[in-house]
Amino acid sequence: MEGAFSYAPAIAAFPLAAFVVALTFGKWMPRKGAIAGIAATAGSLLFSLWMLAAVASGEVYHETLYEWTAGEAAGEVGDGIEFTFGILIDPLSALMLVIVSLVAFLVHIFSLGYMNAEGETGLPRYYAGLGLFTFSMLAFVYADNLLMAFMFFELVGLCSYLLIGFWFRTRSAPSAAKKAFLVTRFGDYFFLIGVVAIAATFGTVAFAGDDSFVAAAETAIADGDTLFGFDAQTWVTITGLLVLGGVLGKSAQFPFHTWLPDAMEGPTTVSALIHAATMVAAGVYLVARMFGYYALSPTALAIIAFVGGFTALFAATMGVVKDDIKQVLAYSTISQYGYMMLGLGVGGYVAGVFHLMNHAFFKALLFLGAGAVIILMHHEQDMWKMGGLKEKAPVTYYTFLAGALALAGIIPFSGFWSKDEILYDALIVGLNEPVIMAAYAMGLVAVFFTGFYTFRMVFLTFHGEPRSEAAEDPHPVGWAVKVPLLTLGVLALVAGVANLAPVAKILGVDIVFLEHWLDGEYGAVEGLTYSAYGELLAYETGVIGSEQLTILVAAGLSLLLAFSGAGLAWKLYNVPEPVAHKERLGSARRTIENNYYQDEYQVWLARGFTLPLSRAADRFDQTVIDGSVNGISTASLFGSSWVKRLQTGIVTNYAALIVAGFIALLVFLGVYGGWF
């Protein structure tokens, strides 16, 4: 199947073509460009599956396709450097390609029901945006070097901006779009420094191969080199953390998470595709992609794990008080990506990727389900105006429920398996590392909140009595909505089969397919395998009693918490006339409702600090700098009006002045020449 890879560029090229077609001819096409998008993503999906099959057959692909530019590298290495576009298809990227193209494909179909059927205007722009996004995301996924990854990482940010701001005629959407771009840009600032630093340090930005920066870093650490005045280990940590800035921004991790809830201003389909399943995953994916590099730096990993654990809990607590269905999902997304970061941070490469995959499916499902609910509710998003949709929209309900169970981590839905694996990995490392233990603890507590807000959402939306006219008479949804829901619903249920690690360990059966997949059992690029990473990791693991016992304890704890959260939600909200119960939170309520004032301080940073500072700079510029320029001119003209007064108009004065001037010259020269 080696020939398959020569078609790899087409995976990204299809959606790019769809972008161009939709943008230029969309207006005159039936369905305004949707067909082009669906065809393109279907093509991408098929080709991605083909790549997956090719990798499964033991092939990998790492090829430079295009030289962007090349030149002399300055800095620590004096040799030339090439900046190229290349494709790296290994187990990780092949898997991600499938996830992205699948979700994109489903979202395109769903859009027929969500956008076209609802009579939106500007659809060519919408489909063009989706096409461009899919192109960028796929290209990011199989990028074979850090610079190319950065470039497409930025492009997906652009698409996110454009699509969040799709309804640009409102005030809120453009504002949210701006915020999303800005906050992620802030992260990307660090990322770009990281890229530049890595390129300048190692003279390469390749992810894989002997001349990758990961290999170079390993050598440098081994040789005890000094890089930019730091020892190699520290420098790797610094650059790794710089790149992490981009990751935190894109994956909406604390403290860059604030943009994601606002991004819900975009169409729900966009939220499903970009702000849940794929683009937000880009950050986590990047960590996985260059995991070998982070593995060299325990400090960086510990920070990743801690930030992940903290974000998981932090976001989950905010999710419990939200009234807007999409807001709940947004915070849940932040929280879930926190888990993935935690997983990767503790060295659970497989667990992290596993959760990434599962989350893509069930979160896309939940968002699309929410989209369906929004259609049902005539574009109402407030859960307090819903209720009782269970009977009226059974397909939506049951698929949504599947997604919710997966999200809450209820056995045997997919989310349970991956989340449990993350927590297990965190626990065994945490037993020796207090920082990781703290991260684990936060992740564990977050499970409770996850269960609670998930089922609070389910109960408020679907159970009880209808609380508004729209809820009593929902708008019907068509096949274009149901097909994607059903597809993703099935995946949410069964995707966990990919890696039943606890079962495997307890029962001793070899059913950890994903682990084998990522470990290169079928085929992999050298150095980019789970076991290769494992060798680099400096973590010690411990167990509670035996390994099996540890597994059971971990799984039991998280299940218990998930159930209790869900149960609490059931008790409070699965009633015909639910009430908010927010007063029970007491003094914490305001804080949580205001998202811990995270938005406030960031807005203050922008408006309260930067803007006044810039105004002060402007005033300084106008008065001091420009003032001195104008001052010189004014002074000259003043001097001018003074000089010309010498010319009194009276000829006798002229004579006197001439004589005076002459005598002055005479005296000066006389003194100078020593006459006197």
Binding site: R645, Q647, T648, G649, I650, V651, T652, A655, A656, V659
Partner: protein
Amino acid sequence: MTVGVEYYVLLSMALFSIGLFGVLTRRNALMFLMSVELMLNAANINLIAFAFYHGNLTGQVFALFAMALAAAEVAVGLGIILVLYRNFRDVDVTVPTTMRW
């Protein structure tokens, strides 16, 4: 018996200064003109005295030229003073001050 050249120079300088004083103080155009003539003649004295001193005639000849030129200058000057009077009804040189600054 000859008078030393320095006395001629002193005389000429005195004359020059008197002329200059006149130029600076007199407001009547004619007086102004006469004062200038004094200054020119101071130069002539010098020329002649130095010619004598140096023993060549250049200075004396030049003094003749200078007198002729002074006369021409006065002719032009008087013409101008005439039109001055016609336009300003005065020969006070400080009166015409329409152009200044």
